[in-house]
Symmetry: C2
Subunit: 371 residues, 2 copies
């Protein structure tokens, strides 16, 4: 299909392929073992003409990462990390996570028959714990600073022989590249004007940038989109450093957002993301919980139910459009990072109505509600 | 790609296609409008060598329908139903559902800008209600017989101009055909020996059978797999009629299963499924809640977390293997119909363990748990 002197996309039908096979030339492996795969990736790029028209932009696409094996983008990095761990002979893996990554690593660890440790923060909503444990992982809620836990886990892992596939370890970042690869393919090797990524640790946006850079170096695309790091206003260390022109991020002392999945107060890839955004003309946007919730509802009314953080990019589009940074003829891709069923308790914030009636009273109720 | 005098699979990359486009020749539409699509289908066929080896069969594949836009197979039938409704000029759609179908119809109704009525049973778990309402549908819990509600809704719909895309309406059944189409493509136009489908109303298994039949009529495949209708023992009207050699199904008076998604006591397509199974040498299996739960855990330990009903096929494999109906050299496809996050409360039945410790105590806890 697309062949260059640097790398080739392996021709084939995605119905019978894994991302490891299709993009093999872009991974640092001598040989690919697709047995570790759960057939992650190859997610749709869903156009939203209605929202685009309402916001007066050319088009908005939703890269729907909720259609992954564990319903978040994390599976892309996890499969690459597990592949690496196995190639190095590890029999134990782990991760530090606020939820989605723990689910993902637990699933792939189970798939590969590895002993798996999921270290989660105490802020994780209850409904997220059992869906990690169900895969057979050792789940531990660790009290203490989440940022410290990140580094402590890697130290412990080194001593005890546990490969921690944390949020910005190099091989996980390699997995996130495939989001960019697929967007390029789905847009026939054109690129959008903006790609907006909900950002916590920074690993995912780093991977997506790297993916676009590699395809450009290969000559498969000619430009790189303007990359937007979108954070929750209640925990926006990269955004804050960016707008204050600081060289380094500072720890957020009191993170507070409903989007627990992106509330890392001291993101390990924060400084690297800051550098890459400045180098490449990228942007940062922070959105409030209310803006996020409104976007979550609007996204659902386009047919896609994302978890709160997954709606951050749409909220960011609205802000960037208001400031005319996104122009009327621009095309935007929002990364919808995880599914709404991850955190249904947040629905209570939407004041949703569920009616009830008897079978006899049904037709009358429908008539009463007619409009 | 695959062209016959009866119908052609439209060549193309599933990354840039919808199932409506790829299989257009197999749908009863003059023209396809992919605007109604949320890019459903094209789900993975995941091989499980480990479970296959444990159960001593050639291979077990999981058709992972949890990677659909609303995380169940229902989206395939919904997109076809909505396409039909729009082509007939309807501005209102609805469905009668125990959960998954309501979510799906609500999502696609929102996508198409249609007023959408989701009529749900009172047995639906609470955690499933808000994820229907979030899409903006009118959600009504209707007290009364679920089977009666099915037919009553269609009557009301005729009077009031609401297109009810219920579980076995013809166009929904057309959508389910694509599960069979994809399995054929994914197996390079070979077919498995057995395909096992969790069955409630009977619409899905009817569609899957029809899909295989159409591909055989086109000469794309030479055989049709042995189709297995798998039901929950606590609500198994098709199974019961089948083993008792009855011509017609009887209503289950007191349905009782944790798998609410398949507890239709008087399935509208029950008699048709019975007829098709007898005609084609198909089978029926019923599994208990305990068998279902055990299979749910085993499936998760392969990396796929399905809702209870989605584990019914794996439980059925075990039963059919014990009876040597599935032989050691057979290949089996299990339809994993919906995602585990649909109904996380059931996890309490698994006695899962979540541990906790302080950051300081983490390494010691890991050491204590070493094995």
């Amino acid at each position: 299909m697309a062949m260059t002197e640097w790398g080739t996309i392996v021709d084939g039908n995605p119905l019978r392929q894994t991302i490891l096979e299709r993009y093999a030339d872009f991974f640092p492996f001598d040989a690919i073992d697709s047995n570790v795969s759960l057939y992650e990736g190859f997610t749709p790029l869903v156009p939203s003409r209605r929202l685009a028209s309402r916001l007066a932009v050319n088009n908005i696409f939703f890269k729907n990462e909720t259609e992954n094996p564990t319903w978040s983008f994390k599976d892309r990095g996890t499969v690459v990390g597990v592949h690496h761990a196995l190639s190095l002979g590890y029999r134990r893996i782990g991760t530090v996570s606020s939820g989605n990554m723990a689910v993902s690593v637990a699933a792939y660890g189970a798939r590969a028959g590895l002993k798996t440790y999921a270290l989660v923060s105490t802020s994780i909503p209850l409904e997220k714990l059992n869906p990690i444990a169900v895969y057979g992982a050792v789940v531990i809620q660790v009290e203490g600073d989440y940022g410290d836990l990140y580094f402590r886990s890697i130290e412990i892992g080194k001593r005890k022989g546990i490969y921690f596939i944390n949020s910005d370890v190099p091989l996980r970042v390699e997995g996130s590249k495939t989001i960019a690869f697929e967007i390029c393919e789905q847009m026939n090797f054109g690129v959008p004007d903006f790609v907006i990524v909900p950002t916590s640790s920074g690993g995912n946006i780093r991977g997506i940038i790297k993916g676009f850079e590699e395809f450009r170096r290969c000559g498969l695309i000619s430009d790189i989109p303007t990359m937007v790091c979108a954070q929750a206003a209640g925990c926006a260390p990269i955004h804050d450093a960016y707008i204050n022109n600081e060289d380094m991020i500072s720890r957020v002392e009191y993170p507070q957002t409903i989007a627990h999945a992106i509330e890392n107060p001291y993101p390990p890839s924060g400084n690297e993301v800051l550098r890459k955004l400045r180098e490449g003309g990228g942007l940062c946007v922070a959105v409030t919980d209310d803006e996020m919730l409104q976007a979550q509802k609007e996204l659902a009314c386009e047919g896609i139910f994302g978890q709160p953080k997954a709606a951050v990019p749409l909220a960011a589009v609205k802000k960037l459009r208001e400031r005319d940074i996104i122009a009327h003829d621009d095309t935007v891709v929002c990364i919808v990072t995880g599914g709404g069923l991850k955190y249904t308790a947040v629905c209570e914030r939407h004041d949703l109505i569920v009616r009830s009636c008897s079978l006899m009273g049904l037709e009358m109720l429908i008539s009463q509600l007619w409009d």
